[in-house]
C-alpha cells in the first residue's frame, strides 16, 4: 500500500474554495489545541474573537478600520509577489510614509484640507516608494537579497520613528509620552457615519479596482506576470527587468507609504509609540490567501482583521499577549500551504502489488 501523487493540470475554482476553507478550519482546530495546552479555553477564546469583531455595529466598524490598512498593504505587496520579488518590508514603508506625512504637517501646515492632505499623500507615497525602491535597486543592480534588505529597513524605520517621537518631534505638552503634537484639523482624514472608519475606505476601493485593472488588463501588468514567471524569457522579449523591479518596488512602497499616511491622518492624528500593529506582516498572509488578487484581498483582509480585533480583545479579557494572534496567522499559512499540495496534486492510494514505477524505483536504488 502506498500513496501516489499525480500532478493536476488545473484545479477548478470550487475545489480551491473548499480546500482553502477546509484547511483554514484545520488551522483553527490546531490553534485551539495549542491554546488548550497553554491553559486557555479555546472555545471561549474563539467566542471572544467572534463577538469582539462582529458582535455589534461598532465592533464591525472597528473590524473595517483595521481591515483598511491590511487590504491596502496586501495590494502593495501583491505586486511584488507577482514578480517573485519578496517585499516583506511594507511595515517599514508604511512607517516612513507616516513619518513623511507628519513632517509635512509639522513644517508646511496648510489651511486648506485638500491641499494639506494631497501634500501629505504625495510625501508619504514618495517616502515609502523610495524606502522600498532602495531594496529593489540593490536587488537588480547587485543581486542583493531583497528579503533581508526590506526586513532590515523595517527595523531601521522603527528606530527612525522612535528617534523622532522621543527626540525632536516630541510634543512638549505630552507629559513625557513619546508622541508628536496632534495634527491640525486640515491634516485629518474625515471619518464616516460617526465611526472611526475614515475616507481611506474610498481610497482603498479605488485602489483595488485600479490595481485589478492594471494587473489583468494592461501591458505593464502583463509584463509583471511574465517577469515573475520567467525573468529570462521576459528579457529576451525585450522587457526591461531592471526598470520592472525598481518600478514595482517603488509603486509597492508608495502604496504602503500612503497606507501609513491614512492610518496616521485617519485614526490617531499624531504619531505615537507602537503606531503600527504589525499590519505589514499580516498583509503578507492576506496577499497569499487571496491568491494575489486585489479584489479578493478586500474580503480576506476583513476576515484577517477580525483576528487582529479579536487578539486585542483577548488581551483585555483574558490577559493574553497581543502577539497571540500571530499564532493563528502562522498556523493558517502553514495549513493553507499544506492544502495547496492537494490543489496541485491528486493523491491516490495504491493498493496491491507494486507495479511499473516501483520497479523503476528499485533500479534507481532509492526508495525513501
Amino acid at each position: 500500500m502506498k500513496f501516489r501523487a499525480e500532478k493536476r493540470i488545473d484545479a477548478p475554482v470550487w475545489m480551491n474554495v473548499v480546500v482553502t476553507l477546509l484547511f483554514v478550519s484545520f488551522a483553527f482546530v490546531a490553534g485551539g489545541l495549542f491554546l488548550y495546552t497553554q491553559g486557555v479555553p479555546p472555545l471561549s477564546a474563539y467566542w471572544i474573537i467572534l463577538r469582539s469583531s462582529f458582535g455589534s455595529g461598532y465592533d464591525l466598524s472597528e473590524t473595517v478600520v483595521k481591515a483598511l490598512p491590511l487590504a491596502m498593504v496586501s495590494i502593495a505587496v501583491m505586486l511584488c509577489y507577482t514578480m517573485l520579488i519578496w517585499n516583506i518590508g511594507a511595515e517599514g514603508q508604511a512607517l516612513l510614509g507616516a513619518l513623511a506625512a507628519a513632517a509635512v504637517v509639522r513644517y508646511f501646515p496648510a489651511e486648506s484640507r485638500v491641499a494639506m492632505l494631497s501634500l501629505m499623500a504625495v510625501a508619504a507615497a514618495v517616502a515609502g516608494g523610495v524606502w522600498a525602491g532602495i531594496a529593489g535597486f540593490l536587488r537588480v543592480k547587485w543581486n542583493v537579497n531583497e528579503i533581508i534588505t526590506t526586513l532590515m529597513l523595517n527595523y531601521i524605520a522603527i528606530r527612525l520613528l522612535e528617534f523622532f517621537i522621543y527626540g525632536p518631534w516630541r510634543d512638549p505638552s505630552s507629559l513625557g509620552f513619546p508622541m508628536t503634537k496632534p495634527f491640525i484639523d486640515s491634516a485629518r482624514l474625515p471619518t464616516l457615519w460617526g465611526t472611526r472608519v475614515h475616507m481611506g475606505l474610498f481610497a482603498l476601493l479605488v485602489l483595488a479596482v485600479v490595481m485589478e485593472v492594471i494587473m489583468r488588463k494592461t501591458r505593464w501588468g502583463y509584463e509583471i506576470r511574465v517577469m515573475g514567471d520567467n525573468s529570462r524569457a521576459a528579457s529576451y522579449a525585450g522587457m526591461n527587468y531592471f526598470r520592472g523591479v525598481v518600478g514595482v518596488m517603488f509603486l509597492s512602497g508608495a502604496i504602503a507609504g500612503f497606507t501609513g499616511m491614512c492610518e496616521v491622518a485617519g485614526l490617531q492624528g499624531r504619531i505615537q509609540a507602537g503606531f503600527s500593529a504589525q499590519y505589514g506582516y499580516t498583509a503578507i498572509i492576506v496577499a497569499w490567501l487571496s491568491h494575489l488578487s486585489p479584489a479578493l484581498s478586500l474580503f480576506v483582509a476583513f476576515l484577517m482583521s477580525s483576528l487582529l480585533v479579536g487578539g486585542a480583545a483577548l488581551q483585555i479579557e483574558m490577559g493574553l499577549p497581543l502577539a497571540s494572534a500571530a499564532i493563528f496567522q502562522g498556523l493558517i499559512l502553514f495549513f493553507v500551504l499544506g492544502g495547496e499540495f492537494f490543489l496541485n496534486y491528486s493523491v491516490r492510494l495504491d493498493l496491491g502489488p507494486a507495479k511499473g514505477p516501483d520497479a523503476h524505483e528499485k533500479y534507481a536504488g532509492g526508495g525513501g
Partner: protein, 309 residues
C-alpha cells in the same frame, strides 16, 4: 588595548547566538532547503531554553530542550517544503509568525524572572594567552562548543561522505537521486538538525547571555543570521567572522549607550541593521560571482523524482 579587550570578549558572546543560527541555516541551505523562519525558531528556542532551565535549574536541560523544539519546528518546515513542495519563503514567514506568537503566549508568565545561567569557564593555558586568551578562551562552554562546531562543519562538509551527500542533494538532487541517495530523507534530516542549531542560538540568548525571557527578545537576529549565510558564502569559518562582526557592533553600541553619549539611543540601535545591509551590499558587489557559484544550485527548489526540472 586594555579597554578594547572587554569589548572584543563581549563581541564573541553577543555574536554567538547569531553564529549558532547561521551555522544551522548553512546546514539547511546546503541541503537545498531555504528556511527564512529563523527569527521564529530562535524565539521558540529562547523561550523553551529559559523555561526548562527555570523549572529544572539545569541550563543543560534547557539548551537540550531548545534543540529538541527547534528540531520539531524544522520537521514542520521539512514536511511542508520537502514532502509537500510548498513555497519555502512563505513557509518561513509562517514560521516567523508562529514562533513569535507562540513564544509570546507560552512565556507570558515568565516575563521578569531571572535564572543563574552558566558560569564562565577559563580554559587552562589557552586563557593565559595575551589578548586572544581573554577574548576567546575565558568564555562559557556554549561558546567553546560553537568553536568546535565551526571546525567540525568545515571538515564535515568538505571531507566526509555524509557531508558530500548533503551538498549533493542541495546542488543537484537529480544527480544525487540517480546515484542512489535518498534525497528527501537527507534534506529532511539536515533541515531538522539545522533548525535545532538555530533554536540553540535563541536559547543561548535567554539562558546564557541575558538570563531572562522577553517577548521578541531576538530583535531581528534571526534575519541577520539569514543575511550572514550569504555574507559567509555558505562557509562556516566566514560565518564566525560575520557573527563576531555583528557581536562587535552590538557590544559597541551597548557600551556607548551605557556611557551616555550624546547620540540618541534609537540611532545607535539602528547600527546592526544598517551594517547588515551594507555588508550584504559590499559582499554582493565584491563577491557576486562567488556567491552565485557557492550558493547551493537547487536552493529552495523542491525535488520530485517523477517531474522534470
Amino acid at each position: 588595548m586594555e579597554t578594547l579587550i572587554p569589548i572584543l570578549a563581549a563581541a564573541v558572546r553577543s555574536g554567538t547566538p547569531i553564529l549558532y543560527a547561521t551555522l544551522g541555516e548553512i546546514v539547511t541551505e546546503k541541503a537545498g532547503i531555504m528556511n527564512i523562519g529563523l527569527e521564529g525558531i530562535m524565539l521558540m528556542g529562547a523561550l523553551t531554553g529559559f523555561s526548562a532551565t527555570l523549572s529544572t535549574g539545569r541550563p543543560w536541560l534547557g539548551l537540550s530542550a531548545a534543540f529538541a523544539v527547534g528540531a520539531c519546528l524544522g520537521l514542520i518546515h521539512a514536511f511542508l517544503s520537502v514532502t509537500l513542495g510548498s513555497n519555502q519563503v512563505v513557509c518561513g514567514l509562517a514560521m516567523t509568525m508562529f514562533g513569535g506568537g507562540a513564544s509570546a503566549l507560552m512565556g507570558r508568565n515568565q516575563v521578569g524572572m531571572t535564572i543563574k545561567g552558566m558560569a564562565p569557564l577559563d580554559i587552562p593555558v589557552l586563557s593565559e594567552l595575551p589578548i586572544l586568551g581573554r577574548v576567546f578562551f575565558s568564555q562559557d562552554i556554549m561558546v567553546y562548543i560553537s568553536f568546535i562546531l565551526v571546525f567540525f562543519l568545515v571538515f564535515f562538509l568538505r571531507c566526509t561522505r555524509p557531508g558530500m551527500d548533503l551538498r549533493a542533494v542541495g546542488d543537484n538532487p537529480r544527480a544525487a537521486d540517480a546515484m542512489g541517495l535518498p534525497v528527501a530523507r537527507i534534506r529532511c534530516t539536515y533541515a531538522i538538525l539545522g533548525a535545532g542549531l538555530v533554536a540553540l542560538g535563541g536559547a543561548y540568548m535567554s539562558v546564557v547571555y541575558n538570563k531572562f525571557w522577553a517577548e521578541s527578545m531576538t530583535a531581528g537576529r534571526g534575519w541577520i543570521a539569514v543575511a550572514m549565510v550569504i555574507f559567509a558564502v555558505w562557509n562556516p569559518m566566514r560565518a564566525a567572522l560575520g557573527a563576531y562582526l555583528f557581536g562587535g557592533v552590538d557590544a559597541f553600541q551597548l557600551r556607548l549607550q551605557a556611557a551616555g553619549t550624546s547620540v540618541p539611543t534609537p540611532l545607535l540601535m539602528m547600527l546592526p541593521y544598517i551594517l547588515t545591509i551594507l555588508v550584504l551590499v559590499f559582499i554582493s558587489i565584491g563577491k557576486g560571482r562567488k556567491i552565485s557559484l557557492s550558493a547551493p544550485s537547487a536552493l529552495g527548489v523542491p525535488f520530485y523524482r517523477e517531474e522534470r526540472d
